[in-house]
């Protein structure tokens, strides 16, 4: 939950009273143009960036108070989050060890992300798509209740995008909270339940997908999410 979050960086207001909630059992898409404040918001939720005012909590508590964080939240903020000289297995082992997870969780995450064949390759030798899969394996290693993914589709091929869609849907259906940002509107429309749109640090819409694509109750015409989104952010 983000409540009245404001972030000022060197005199520039990058978040301005941002409030929204991502619900358990639902996939919430966090959409906005480049520089709208999506990544800053996600980083604030994860306690990486400090808010100037307002608060961001997960399950009612700030994330930075968590003792076993990867079992609460799985996060993917960048595909370059692993040391380039470390192997995928080594990276996941470090994450598992720091959170008291058993070794078997490393193998499980590698299998889930489909990167077992390259598990012993240095991360720096991997393609963007494989690094992204490793990031997803990192996010999923603790079987967390909440997933926060910043543009997880970047670099993924068609098969991986389909795999991610199935995984995220299954996780949400199992009661997990999924919050993800993306620019792939067609894909988002397939998997999300709720939509939050941000522009210039302000929330424009926070609603269900159906309400966003169908407009008001009186308007029955359903339009593609991409079209509705571009109207909302003033780029169409």
């Amino acid at each position: 939950m983000v409540e009245d979050a404001t972030k000022v960086i060197e005199g520039v207001t990058v978040l301005n009273g941002v409030s929204f909630t991502a619900q358990p059992g639902r996939v919430t898409a966090f959409l906005g143009p480049n520089g709208a404040g999506k990544s800053t918001t996600l980083r604030a939720i994860l306690g990486i960036d400090h808010l100037t005012s307002g608060r961001a909590t997960i399950g009612g508590r700030p994330f930075r108070d968590r003792r076993r964080p990867v079992q609460v939240v799985g996060a993917l903020l960048t595909p370059d989050a692993a040391h380039p000289r470390r192997t995928a297995r080594g990276h996941l082992t470090v994450v598992a060890t720091s959170n008291g997870l058993p070794r078997v969780s490393v193998q499980r995450a590698l299998e889930l992300a489909g990167i077992v064949p390259i598990a012993d390759l240095p991360v720096g030798k991997m393609s963007l798509g494989m690094r992204q899969r490793l990031g997803l394996a990192t996010a999923l290693i603790g079987d967390p209740a909440v997933l926060i993914l910043d543009e997880p589709h970047n670099g993924l091929d068609a098969a991986a995008i389909r795999w991610l869609r199935v995984v995220l849907r299954a996780l949400a259906d199992a009661g997990r909270t999924v919050l993800l940002s993306s620019h792939l509107m067609s894909e988002i429309e397939l998997i999300c339940d709720d939509v939050v749109v941000i522009r210039e640090g302000r929330i424009l819409v926070a609603s269900t997908l159906d309400e966003v694509v169908c407009g008001t109750a009186s308007a029955s015409k359903r339009v593609p999410l991409e079209e509705r989104y571009l109207h909302l952010v003033g780029e169409m």
Partner: protein
């Protein structure tokens, strides 16, 4: 664990361990020791090389994380910043301290092996613990400076300047010279292991142990600065 899973980091640590024995070997075999030296003080002659190597290595642990963008992963897997910072300081200082002890022990064995019979007395081998203490000090400073600057090149420059500049620019320090040079890690090691007689201008006026405590106090202050930066700034 993090160090062990990156080849470059543990290779650098191994090279840092080798720095002191190599210098000691060169000094002993080239006849570079004075008559008042002991095997123990000869084993510590390469301390400044070890301090530089471990200091740079430590700075790279944290500054490298920022440079490569992997600090985000650290913060999402261990979001409690005081715990993460303390873990980084403890792990790096422990690894550096153990490495320094090993390095000094190897250096002593090298000196005992290559010295001409009857040339130098043994001295007090236990005093080589001061090498580990000085290395731990510079490791704590390196980790902290890495967090403060977030830049590998700036961190390395600061560590190198902190170790070498006081002696190089001793003439500019005036009355502060014995206080600053005397509490610098290399000088503290020289004082504790004995051997070379330091000039009064480089000897800490309040004594050797006061110099060692001052050195540790400086590390604590820098570590405090690192903690402040780590807790207050965005990741």
């Amino acid at each position: 664990m993090k160090i062990a899973t990156v080849r470059g980091q543990w290779l650098s640590a191994v090279l840092a361990v080798m720095a002191i024995p190599v210098i000691s070997f060169l000094v002993v075999t080239t006849g570079g020791l004075g008559s008042g030296e002991t095997s123990t003080s000869a084993a510590a002659t390469g301390s400044i090389a070890g301090l530089l190597a471990f200091g740079i290595w430590s700075a790279m642990i944290t500054a490298g994380e920022y440079a490569k963008g992997t600090m985000v992963t650290s913060l999402t897997t261990v979001p409690r910043r005081p715990v993460l910072y303390a873990a980084k300081l403890t792990a790096t200082a422990t690894a550096a301290g153990v490495g320094a002890l090993l390095s000094a022990a190897i250096a002593l064995l090298v000196v005992l092996g290559v010295r001409a019979p009857g040339t130098y007395g043994l001295g007090n081998p236990a005093s080589l613990v001061s090498v580990a203490m000085a290395v731990i000090t510079i490791a704590v400073i390196g980790v902290s400076v890495g967090v403060i600057t977030r830049s590998p090149s700036a961190s390395i420059a600061i560590v190198v300047v902190a170790l070498l500049l006081p002696k190089a620019a001793s003439g500019l320090l005036g009355g502060l010279q014995p206080w600053i040079i005397g509490a610098s890690p290399g000088t503290v090691v020289t004082e504790v292991v004995g051997g070379t007689q330091l000039p009064v201008s480089q000897t800490f006026p309040a004594g050797t142990w006061a110099a060692a405590l001052t050195m540790l106090a400086v590390a604590v202050v820098v570590a405090g600065g690192g903690a402040f930066a780590f807790l207050r700034r965005d990741g």
